[in-house]
């Protein structure tokens, strides 16, 4: 992970060598978005990413059988089955990135707002989980999904940059229909104490909506589950 983070930090350095702001975001603020992005990635790598990326194998090989019969929510068992404790170390790299972002900010962050920003990462975590499980649930309809890892990787890239760079049409798409652009930007905007009260309400609302939608898709998919011999 360290190499990835390093590469993106260099990319941001190169971009800001030529410009002063990116869609209204300074270098330090953009690095803050990147820090929140990697924190979200650390949490998802730790808890559910592997399980989602290999979900087509789980379904095709009938490994869901023993999870369905357990008296616990099958979706949670399926996607939190293997926890990658070896990913904990990556959080240290993210902490270094946060420190670097703080050093590049024009003004120091208020600890209170930073904590609210961190709490927004938990909302992002739920939204990200809902979006990815909805994509993974497509396995129930299409069977083998060789592109699952690629789709998860590609869609995740959208949350790495400020939401404002996408302009009007794509901004609407990536903030409402596939709200990936909000995942790291909202926690960063909250930590920077930018006046976005309505946006936070929208973010929480859309998370509840996608959470309910992904559960609905999951239950519909589970009805189609045909196991394996």
């Amino acid at each position: 992970m360290g190499a990835w983070v390093g590469a993106y930090v260099i990319l941001i350095e190169v971009i800001f060598f030529h410009i002063d702001s990116l869609a209204g975001w300074s270098k330090g603020e953009t690095l803050l978005i990147l820090s929140f992005y990697y924190l979200l990635q650390n949490l998802s790598d730790l808890f559910f990413k592997d399980n989602i990326e290999s979900f087509d194998d789980t379904v095709i090989h009938g490994e869901l059988d023993f999870l369905i019969v357990k008296p616990a929510p099958t979706r949670m068992l399926a996607f939190f089955w293997r926890i990658r404790w070896d990913q904990v170390g990556s959080v240290i790299i993210t902490l270094f990135l946060f420190t670097y972002a703080f050093q590049n900010l024009a003004q120091p962050l208020s600890p209170g707002y930073f904590l609210i920003g961190l709490s927004m990462v938990l909302v992002s975590f739920i939204l990200y989980f809902s979006l990815l499980t909805m994509i993974a649930s497509s396995t129930f309809w299409i069977g083998r999904n060789n592109s699952l890892r690629t789709i998860v990787f590609s869609i995740t890239q959208l949350s790495r940059y400020p939401r404002q760079i996408y302009g009007k049409i794509f901004g609407l798409i990536f903030s409402s229909f596939i709200p990936m652009a909000l995942l790291a930007t909202i926690p960063a905007e909250t930590a920077l104490a930018q006046p976005i009260g309505i946006l936070i309400a929208f973010f929480i609302g859309i998370t509840i909506l996608f959470s309910a939608l992904s559960q609905w898709v999951w239950l519909r998919g589970l009805k189609r589950y045909s196991s394996a011999n």
């Binding site: 059988d65 023993f66 008296p71 045909s226």
Partner: protein, 322 residues
Amino acid sequence: MTAIQVKNLKKHFKQVKRKPGMGSYIKSLFHRDYDTVKAVHDISFEIKQGEFVGFVGPNGAGKTTTLKMLSGILFPTSGEVTVAGHVPWQREPQFQRKFSLVMGQKNQMWWDLPVIESFQFNKTIYEIPDATFKAQKEMLCELLDIGHLINNPVRKLSLGERMKCELATALLHKPEILFLDEPTIGLDVISQKRIRDFLAEYNKEQGATIILTSHYMEDIRRLCDRVMIIDHGKLIYDGTYDKLIEKYADTKMIEVGFHEGVSEADLKKVAHVISYNHASAKLSVQRKDITKATTELLKLPIEDISIQEESMEEIVREIFSK
């Protein structure tokens, strides 16, 4: 009291039909033809609490599909089922705490972790009280002789050891209904016997209702009061083991041993010879002719004689060949 009730249960799978080759693949992107596979077709039965039922049939007969519907893994195409008073595919946690499913060909324990971790996981998931967990764990470790194995990673266990641990994991929460899908598959004779003895004991002691599918007819013969035979998704026999013998085994087998020259021709005059060597032979005799055949055989210089029912394998083979 009825534990399981099944009425007109059907499970039909739609399968994509595609010819080999790239052209057929591209065509299937726009138009697909389907075949309907009738895995289970209109079966009905009732099982009383505490019954031990053998579910027999060739590969692809619909045994496992039926068990998967009874345990709520699969939704049926149509039909009604209640298991312990619940509709299985509603997947209510109260129902899921009442049964267990063990599949001989699938592993439900964590592969890289010690067996005890899977025990602990089930303790939490099934909300087993500490005292019950401790007592049940000790009882299962003793009955299955696995006390020395539970701290070993699952991947280090032999197939027989793993299956015993699978059974223990599945029984920790004292299920009142047990679905066993080929639990003795691939095991050596000693392991098969140990599991068989354990299941008989568990059924007797706990009064659990058990449905067992197995390709080893010895499992069925020794354990099950009742046998259900399924073929092509249809139930073709449902009754006691004895009645199955009566209905389908119209012959008995006589084994004879002799110490001096009895020719195969001599034996052929009495009965159909299944196998013959210089010291022993196996004969098949019509049930009604058994007295006459025995009398004739005793006139020959034979050392010992035993009369046996046809093996379960033979009977089932006979049924499916009709």
